[in-house]
Symmetry: D4
Subunit: 208 residues, 8 copies
């Protein structure tokens, strides 16, 4: 954890009791800043709601925060195609916010329905960084990357079946994007994309 | 070889002498129809030019025909993104023509440059079948498939490097296309796409 | 969704409540045409039966329709080898019908029992498009494709174990078919094959 | 090398000089029986022809024998689809012969041309063991295995391109054959298939 | 099903009711010969025991037979390394017996304990065919194949973890065996190995 | 090409003549800005040197520029471990410079020699964006990412052998980095990393 | 089992009853030495606790021992990065101890937090062998291997998601380590690493 | 480079001039100890022979040393099956020697010829560490590991074809070895195995 960054609890493989305990401890240590917990099971979310009423739970993102969110600087647009990509997009969005940048959400803009994407263009063209979330063939970052020169982080999701191989098809599509300047994170890694994009967006608004 | 279809010589792994000999024999048997030879090395093309002056050579497609081309029925639009995809697109186009359908070529319409693709829309929306050729992330069929309901055959190409795995990334992208009704052939298989699309286009103009 | 095509609900990952709600809404909007729902869990099917008695449920296809089916034009033959391929064949068949083409089912015709396949030949040779569904080694499309020049869409299924890799062996077999003009869709994607084949069959009977 | 089996020299990665030297030495040790050399480069074949005039060279099989071939017992039918599979089929056939069984060759019988295969049926139905060689989708063993109960060894070849992955598609097809009792060897391993099939054929004619 | 071979029911994916019904029907049609059912769940086995008391259940093989077993000709030795390989070895052994050859079982002879394997040598050296079952690195067929020239069918099992990839490591090991004349079947395919080996063993004792 | 970005010629698969011709044409159109050509063969570099003396050739990067480089804003540190990674690091560095940001090169700082990396820390801790180039296990981005919160783009290289799979091992290592906020581009894609990092660095110095 | 080594029971796939029975039998045979049981389910651990009160259970390692531990010679340091790697590290540590070497545990020393690793250096630099356990990108062995020349065994763990492929990314990272002299065992194989490291450590303290 | 270890030049991808120059420089700096150069092309070896006559060249290992070899402590046995594995075995052996341990070579002991391996047993049972080199199915380490408790490092080689995948089959076989205490290095990495084994062997003879 770098100074200034929030503490983060990775919920995967931890019991609800462990998650609650870690959140409580970290919050007690620095009540003036936010703690973020991700990859929370339904049980862990329920336990947090019951035992830490001050926590804010985002059930789509399967995440929670405890403590005041930081002031923001810069804006990240989070773009997603399908409803199945929503949990990853939500994890990315919350992570951005907790790391101190503003978030703009743009949903339902798949590559097979270009008109909606083109209509949304104004809403992402002036952001400081983009996060583009897509499963299946993972084509959305290439199309968005062709429409704007804003730094773009692509997040493949494990949405799909058969030869989608749990997100590999989307990951490969993004790594081979014909739009220059597309960078990629691990499958379903909304958190990593959020940390990175928040840094970029904050820096874009830091230097006089 | 089904009755009515042209004879085809697959040049890969055959010596120039073998290719010339087979072309000559097949042509002698049925001088009234075309023979198609594909995957021809530069040497094989040179030898055909020298020894079978009646042959027509398409050096981009790395292919040749000998004998009169059939009458056409129906139209196939062959759409390709980059110049590197040209050999595969040319093989598809020539195969379509030799199998008795008309061809319309649409080039340089990558997904990272949407305006060109949108401008070309009129030129493919009224075709009887589409062949969409793309390497790298293979996103073009999804975008085209979102713009039209014409039957669409996607051809992944081995263009790219690193995690493109000689066309696997494009193949996976196409198999996972979010546009419904996209079908796929093997990597670089312009020939197979051409045979299929010509059949579809001809049938679309056969029945009163 | 292109004009004229039915609305489709992809049931995977949706709760029974969500599925019923979307079906109801889409049906209310256009009661004069069919809505199709695919990949329905047993629970979702039960809930549809209980709450939408006008819906027709196809439990082999794990799918349902609500609203009147469209008139048909053209015929698609759906050919499958084994009983384990039945769910995918049924999804393909229902999708064809909902997209406005007639369906002819041909079952139990595996490549290791040629005589049955040869006997069935008359029933698929005059169709406007074929859908060939096969798991394991995926050889059926090659054999059928050698018997007829009707456009043929191959659907690999995830039937098998060990080195079948959940349908990859069948997928690769079909992509490498030695019969020219075989096109392929994603593993278990009866829906995609059905959309495509219905388009081809309808077009084959559209133009005077 | 088991007693009675011929000595075998695997030519891959050996210089022509090494191959000639080993052949000479092994032949001198047991002039009364055959030595087999496989995977010979054109250079190695030329050197053998020049320096060991008593050797018999099979340039399709890329192999050579030196010394008298053994008496035979039992018959192996070697079945192959395409001309590109010829080198592997020839390696298998020669290996069978050198290991003491008779060989019957059946060529040009691909699964996309069933009538030729069905016509050839009489020529393999009474063999003691079958070797079926096929590239691309590797479907031939399934079809042949459905026509006869003779023990059948399938050999995938590296013929093909794109998603054939140098023979992997054919290998997987054969491992997943829907015909029971199909066994498989490594890609292009005509030698291994030949050793095995000769053993089976000889044993079938050994016991009163 | 070839004449003379038993009928076989593949239990995977069938309900207990379906399995019982098919067994009953097939048995009624030919009460004078055996029916084999494989890949039976515990429930299916219980239902067979309850409803078809004449059936013989092999719970290690997860299989059952109904009707009199055929007379035998020839002997197959089934060799396995670990106790985890027992289900596959048992499936192979029962299949051999049902297809009319005798079975000799040799267990607990892993390659890391050579002395036990060498002691067992007499028990497999005079068999007519060998089935060698092994998981993990799949080395046993190479070692056994180096000790005898009896035709040898290798069966990889899905035993192992991590980089064993559900049997792929063993499968690859067997395909690359340095002992010539080793043939391979799909992972866990005791049934396929049994059919093949019984054919070989029976033929070895058929011809005067 | 977005307005303001330089024109880029991708040299792979183009003849020296083609490369020279495209460079000349693009330069003539906008002599006031730089054209970049990448992936140049030795022949292409030689021809450029001979025919376009005003071009600057970077033989380590296998790239060339023609026309005045733009003014810079912001700084990108390019960090590489081994000498074998030099071509990719050089391509990234030149791309950054041509896209209008300053470059700081840090070489020979592998993870197995921590002291050198720690000594270099001051030279990258105040950059606006980092590009970290590494082959083999691709561990360098994780270690650097643990030392600083500067946005970090990781570039896997195809350096290595055996189980490095032409850069796949490094790519996977970077996608799974335990340091949060590491983003990745395709194997050997110094160009893509450079475009992205230059955008980030320029933006970091744009807004008052 | 080599003379002097403890007996080991591999609990995976064994019922609690079987595990208890084998432990009891082996212990009765040699009450003077330890038996080790690994990969124990929670149920198996509970049954051992209930029925074999003399057994020592290590619930993090999912393992148990029965009988007196051997005297020790030499020291193995077991180094792990994350808490998720704890079960594998604990299995390795217990295996070392049961095989007669001393263990020193060093936890929470990931590559993204170098200062902690550097502080721990004194605690592993004088060990006789190191076991380094890491998931995700598997970079820890490279960094530790650069800090010391003590023989180092790397254990990849299946910790991670997406493109970590159940430990494959970590395994490949370790196989491609840029630190010379790093050796690797199978994913999650703390047992194998422990056996090996104990042998090395004991030998290092055996010879005068 | 740790103090006391020799300097090593990795020849892959370096020009002969570069290799000679680096060797000369390193030797000049410490003429009292050996420099090792590996992966040398034929040209590099020739240039070293011509320009550095004091160098010792091992053409099987494709390696060279310059300067006096260190005194030795402890013994490493290097065991290999086939002649094709010789280059890797030789690289391992030379590396061991240069790192200060004695080497014993044991060749031609494949798993398909057990008697030779069993005869060689005395020659490796008292070594301080074993290096076992094997291609194809990579079974040799399991068999050797079952015969002795000496620490054993397995080296897979890229020998083989088809489904050997350039050494992957052997690598997987070794990672899944049923003999406990087998550790593995990268494919063809004789150097890495040598460094590790020399450390183990030296330590085994260091402590009173
Ligand atoms: N069985 C299926 N397989 C693949 N895609 C499907 C299937 N059924 C529906 N779809 C696609 O899913 C879309 C509807 O997704 P949704 O809006 O999530 O219900 C449809 O327009 C189809 O493109
Ligand atoms: N074409 C082949 N494919 C695979 N293995 C072969 C082939 N030819 C020979 N072999 C094997 O290679 C061994 C001889 O290898 P070598 O001593 O290197 O010549 C023989 O005993 C066979 O087991
Ligand atoms: N080294 C490189 N690696 C990947 N893509 C590149 C590279 N250099 C140029 N490109 C891309 O190739 C395009 C130019 O391609 P072309 O028109 O074929 O010369 C540029 O717009 C970039 O997107
Ligand atoms: N955790 C483990 N991982 C891998 N192999 C193990 C493990 N524990 C025990 N083994 C091996 O399993 C053998 C015992 O197997 P079993 O006879 O089935 O209990 C031991 O001799 C070890 O070689
Ligand atoms: Mg998507
Ligand atoms: Mg493309
Ligand atoms: Mg099938
Ligand atoms: Mg074939
Ligand atoms: Mg085993
Ligand atoms: Mg590196
Ligand atoms: Mg880790
Ligand atoms: Mg070997």
């Amino acid at each position: 954890r770098r100074t200034g960054d929030p503490e983060v609890v990775y919920g995967e493989g931890k019991t609800p009791t462990q998650v609650v305990e870690i959140l409580r401890t970290l919050h007690a240590r620095h009540p003036e800043r936010a703690v973020l917990a991700t990859r929370l099971s339904a049980e862990a979310q329920a336990r947090i709601a019951a035992e830490l009423p001050a926590a804010a739970i985002d059930d789509v993102a399967r995440a929670a925060t405890l403590g005041p969110l930081p002031e923001t600087r810069g804006t990240v647009a989070v773009i997603a195609a399908g409803t199945s990509d929503a949990p990853v997009a939500a994890e990315a969005a919350l992570t951005v916010r907790v790391h101190g940048a503003d978030v703009r959400r743009i949903d339902d803009v798949g590559v097979a329905g270009l008109h909606r994407l083109l209509e949304a263009r104004d809403r992402f063209a002036d952001a400081d960084c983009l996060i583009v979330v897509a499963g299946m063939e993972g084509a959305l970052p290439s199309v968005v990357g062709g429409l704007t020169g804003v730094p773009l982080v692509a997040v493949p999701t494990s949405v799909g079946y058969g030869a989608s191989f749990g997100g590999i098809a989307a990951l490969l599509g993004m790594l081979n994007s014909c739009a220059p300047g597309v960078v990629v994170v691990n499958i379903d890694n909304g958190y990593g994309a959020g940390v990175f994009a928040a840094r970029v967006a904050r820096n874009a608004r830091s230097h006089p």
